[in-house]
């Protein structure tokens, strides 16, 4: 069975591309694997689109399968045989499925939303890919609900304050590991809770029923409203489609605090579908913004301290890819990933 691996970052420059490259190298060595590569953003450029600093380049080899926007091929040196042109439109043209015929650099820009990724992943498998990597974009994570296994790249680029980063990472992982609930009977369904009116409806549903299934997201404002309602939540159940729906609603620490308060109040919060966070990678690099010249320069925090601190704060494997390469990470992925 195919591995469908997503690589998400907590911020720009946390080492997504480095992680992607490291895993790709391992996939290339593993003769049983055919790579399928796509991206929910735009990756592989020489210099970062936003900071203007140099970036690692992604290189593909013959036989690998890709799902990329047409125009990303114009700036790639790899040669791609067209297998299928989809009607999925991106800012860089339609997404195409292709097979690498001559190795070289590849700019990967692909389907950038869940709905499209959902269509592209089976296509890559149909053409024979059995190890699919979905490269992330910036701090975006929402489309990663479509992958089976998630690697999160974090590091000093999120915040150079290591203690703060450790807390943040711990909370992020804990939210993503929210328990899966089997939906009990007599639950009420409702759409995304984005404003006070919806939060009021939600609280009324909770008062009168066993629990509520939200088919979408609940905003931090909605969570805050529930906290005000207080005691009546005791023993009630709130179910979301997956934990990513909780992450996207605000700053991780804020969301975590709200969720903790709700738990204390007795509300049971769970998800329908689990997000498998397989591992974390950490990166001491961060682009430092210089206000004097309105640009960025490279900077680093203490590599060992960062690694140890993060490792101690989470219950999943942590890797420093630049230091140790991708081999151990790959083993973890393959082992966990079916």
């Amino acid at each position: 069975m195919a591995v469908i691996l997503g690589i998400a970052g907590t911020a720009k420059n946390t080492g997504k591309t480095t992680t992607t490259k490291a895993i790709m190298e391992e996939v290339q060595r593993d003769k049983n694997r055919v790579l399928g590569l796509t991206s929910i953003g735009y990756d592989g450029e020489d210099v970062d689109n936003i900071t203007g600093l140099p970036k690692p380049k992604i290189e593909v080899w013959p036989g690998a399968l890709v799902a990329v926007a047409e125009r990303s091929l114009e700036v790639s040196t790899a040669q791609i045989e067209l297998l299928e042109k989809t009607d999925i439109a991106t800012p860089l043209g339609k997404v195409i499925l292709g097979r690498v015929t001559k190795g070289g650099t590849l700019l990967i820009a692909g389907p950038n939303k869940s709905k499209e990724l959902r269509r592209v992943l089976p296509l890559l498998q149909q053409y024979g890919a059995n190890f699919i990597i979905v490269d992330g974009a910036l701090n975006r994570i929402a489309p990663m609900v479509e992958v089976d296994s998630l690697i999160i790249a974090t590091g000093a680029a999120k915040t150079p304050n290591i203690t703060e980063l450790a807390w943040e990472t711990k909370h992020l992982v804990e939210i993503l590991q929210f328990p899966v609930f089997n939906t009990p009977k007599n639950m009420v369904n409702m759409g995304s809770v984005l404003d006070i009116q919806a939060a009021q409806r939600l609280s009324a549903f909770l008062s009168n029923n066993q629990g509520v299934v939200i088919d979408g997201v609940i905003s931090s404002q909605g969570l805050e409203y529930l906290i005000q309602v207080g005691e009546e939540l005791k023993g009630k159940i709130l179910i979301l489609p997956d934990a990513i729906k909780l992450i996207v609603c605000g700053e991780v620490r804020h969301i975590y605090n709200l969720l903790s308060r709700l738990k204390e109040l007795g509300l049971e919060i769970g998800v329908k579908k689990e997000v498998h966070v397989t591992a974390l990678t950490v990166n001491p690099y961060y682009p430092q913004f210089r206000f004097s010249s309105n640009d960025y320069q490279e900077a680093y925090v203490d590599r060992k301290l960062l690694f140890q601190t993060i490792k101690n704060s989470v219950n999943i494997p942590v890797f420093d890819i630049v230091e140790e390469g991708g081999h151990k990470l790959y083993e973890v992925i393959v082992e966990k990933g079916i």
């Binding site: 020489d46 700036v75 004097s292 010249s293």
Partner: protein, 81 residues
């Protein structure tokens, strides 16, 4: 920095037209040209690509405000004819 460049009050602009296939390529060429010319603090002020190439204005800062200005201390420049 050569003596003559120390006398550049702040920045040196290079205005030219580069034959290239896209604005992206034009940008890269312009910046690499400035680096090849030996400048470190370089940027592209303006680029307009149409058809055959790009009209560019590339810039190298020799002295940003707050730097120690070469021209404050510059000795007489020896000009080689």
């Amino acid at each position: 920095m050569t003596d003559a460049l120390k006398r550049v009050i702040d920045a040196l602009d290079v205005e030219t037209f580069l034959v290239c296939e896209s604005e992206e390529e034009g940008k890269k060429l312009a910046l690499s040209m400035m680096k090849n010319l030996g400048f470190k603090d370089v940027d592209l002020v303006f680029i307009e690509f149409i058809g055959s190439g790009a009209r560019i204005r590339a810039r190298a800062y020799l002295h940003r405000p707050g730097d120690q200005y070469g021209w404050l201390f510059a000795e007489e420049v020896k000009v080689n004819d």
